[in-house]
């Protein structure tokens, strides 16, 4: 019965197959319209990267200039400055934020009191749900000359530091606030992986007299190593896509030399400076490099015979 039905199913023509599910297709109309207008519509506007789109011109009347804007971006000495800043911030996050996430997961995993574990987890996730504006607002005010940190410094008899306007402090502030906001949330995936490790391994280790420290080194860490390497690769793949929301809120004239990244440059020069074609070209350059990196990372992950990104 079931079998003959499925053979009948195969015999239907394409038209019949579509007609049979006409209600389902009608549901899809609005979403497809949405993706066509609001996503593919923006792809059409990407073409201005290859045109001179200036005031008074439309998408269609602006003349083609090929790779002119890309060339002028790549030849600009400031290009290397932007790439340098972008990569530096990403690498700093990879060096500090990434291991911290794993260490936190390992530490939380060592808490045997269920209620305590739950409490630490809940508290650590909280900042993830605050907006970038809130986190940056906290940073700016806690670090201001009359803020909490400087009050502490002067209480200890040290001189005040103008954190927000000093060149050397921008990167530490960026990284530390990132850790504060996202380390708890980032640890979820490792905590889940840790809970998947066979409990018998730990029991056997205890019988053999292994200390808890040894258990972490020889059971916990090797157990989550596949997850760690996948996460590492994916982060590496996203190394050029640094979020600009936060930088836009934290940087100012004095920290610009170390804080300006590709995307903030697009915002300032392309959008604020209405240099639309140039800004689009710079943005597209970043997107393409980012996609290549991401795709390569995903390929490597696939080769490692683990779950792929999508």
């Amino acid at each position: 019965m079931k079998r003959s039905e499925s053979i009948e199913e195969k015999k239907l023509t394409v038209r019949q197959k579509i007609w049979k599910n006409k209600e389902l297709y009608s549901l899809l109309l609005l979403p497809i319209l949405y993706f066509t207008i609001f996503r593919y519509g923006t792809f059409v506007w990407l073409s201005i990267a290859f045109k001179d789109f200036t005031l008074g011109k439309t998408l269609f009347t602006a003349e083609w200039v090929g790779f002119k804007h890309f060339r002028s971006f790549l030849e600009d000495p400031y290009f290397w400055n932007l790439i340098g800043n972008t990569l530096t911030l990403s690498v700093l996050l990879l060096i500090f934020s990434f291991p911290f996430t794993i260490i936190l997961a390992l530490m939380i995993n060592e808490v045997h009191n269920k209620a305590g574990k739950k409490l630490v987890q809940s508290i650590s996730y909280l900042p993830h749900f605050f907006s970038t504006v809130v986190v940056c607002g906290m940073v700016v005010n806690l670090l201001s000359t009359d803020g909490l940190i400087n009050n502490l410094l002067s209480m200890l008899g040290l001189s005040k530091i103008p954190f927000m306007t000093s060149l050397g402090w921008f990167r530490p502030i960026y990284v530390i606030s990132d850790i504060w906001q996202s380390v708890g949330w980032g640890s979820i995936i490792y905590i889940a992986a840790l809970s998947g490790i066979d409990a018998q391994l730990y029991e056997a280790a205890v019988l053999d007299g292994a200390s808890r420290w040894k258990q972490i080194l020889h059971i916990s860490i090797p157990g989550i190593l596949p997850v760690i390497s996948i996460q590492f690769l994916l982060r590496l793949g996203g190394i050029i896509n640094i979020g600009y929301e936060k930088i836009l809120l934290l940087y100012n004239g004095s920290t610009m030399p170390v804080a300006d990244v590709i995307s903030t440059y697009v915002y300032r020069r392309g959008l604020m400076g209405t240099d639309y074609s140039y800004g689009t070209a710079v943005g597209l350059f970043q997107t393409v490099i980012g996609l290549i990196l991401m795709a390569s990372a995903n390929q490597i992950v696939k080769k490692l015979d683990a779950a792929s990104l999508w």
């Binding site: 609005l30 979403p31 497809i32 593919y40 792809f43 506007w45 990407l46 605050f130 697009v266 996609l291």
Partner: protein
């Protein structure tokens, strides 16, 4: 079995470090709160650290008197509610047909959507599009461009796919129409995914800052996050009062009060969010 002393010591050190960590997470939030309810004097003299001094609600009274603050708060509530409804409606509309294995052309449509999701044209093309559709300075600029998140759509589709086919088949044999199957079987079973996506979308709208920054110039439409930025980061306190900037309350009190009022709803729904989000992230990572 009794633990060795060294292992117990390990546990204590671990617990102590985690306690320290939670304090580092919580203290800045707590500090902002106690400053916001302390008197101006102690705040100026930098005396507030553990408990509020000369407690007063003056800062809150001041910000509640600011029209632009109240208006932006109402705007954000509107964007959050309306935006989330649009999101859920559109996401479900997209996810349900794609969950059905008998849909002809399903993989082609999925590829169409995945390309649109993975490839982000960027800030300026997005701005130009919204501009060319004459959506700038309208609420639609906030509600429409992000109507469906491809990732969330995939999450919902996966959820629908996991509903046993037998249930749907049985209903069909009983003569139920497609509409009735959706209304009486799919939707009631899908409450958890709707709840978790609603929370995800809602938090996103509440915290959203870049789209309004790019698409709204009209201050009457400003959401909370933009006012927050002007007050807290750019220190434009006159932003709130419409020019008047001399009041008896310390600006720092006002700034922290504004921050606190803006995160209050997040803290209130947090217990629910957390549960659903954790589930959501797990569905996401399992399915990939």
């Amino acid at each position: 079995m009794k633990m060795k002393f060294s292992d117990r010591l390990f546990g204590w050190i671990n617990a102590f470090l985690l306690l320290l960590f939670t304090l580092i997470i919580l203290y800045p939030i707590y500090y902002m709160f106690i400053v916001s309810i302390s008197g101006s004097g102690p705040v100026m003299r930098a005396e507030v650290s553990i408990i509020p001094l000369e407690p007063t609600l003056d800062a809150y009274r001041v910000i509640l008197g600011f029209n632009s603050f109240l208006r932006s708060y109402c705007n954000t509530i509107f964007y959050t509610v309306a935006g989330t409804l649009v999101n859920l409606f559109m996401t479900a509309l997209c996810a349900y047909p794609l969950s059905r294995s008998d849909l002809y052309g399903r993989s082609a449509i999925t590829v169409f959507i995945v390309i649109a999701t993975v490839f982000d044209a960027g800030m300026i093309p997005g701005f130009m599009l919204v501009n060319s559709l004459h959506l700038r300075n309208t609420i639609w600029a906030i509600l429409l461009p992000g109507a469906i998140s491809g990732y969330n759509m995939i999450l919902m589709r996966t959820f629908f796919q996991n509903i046993p086919v037998d249930l749907i088949e049985a209903a069909r044999i009983d003569g139920a129409s497609e509409k009735r199957i959706v209304a009486q079987i799919i939707l009631p079973l899908s409450k958890p995914i709707f709840a978790s996506l609603a929370l995800m979308y809602a938090v996103g709208h509440w915290n959203s800052y870049l789209p309004p920054l790019l698409y709204l110039d009209d201050k009457k439409l400003y959401p909370l996050q933009l006012i927050l930025r002007n007050v807290v980061i750019s220190s434009e306190l006159s932003e709130l009062s419409g020019g008047m900037s001399a009041y008896s309350v310390n600006p720092l009190n006002i700034k922290y009060a504004v921050i606190f009022v803006s995160i209050l709803p997040i803290i209130c729904v947090y217990p629910f969010i957390q549960k659903y989000f954790e589930k959501g992230i797990m569905i996401g990572s399992l399915k990939g």
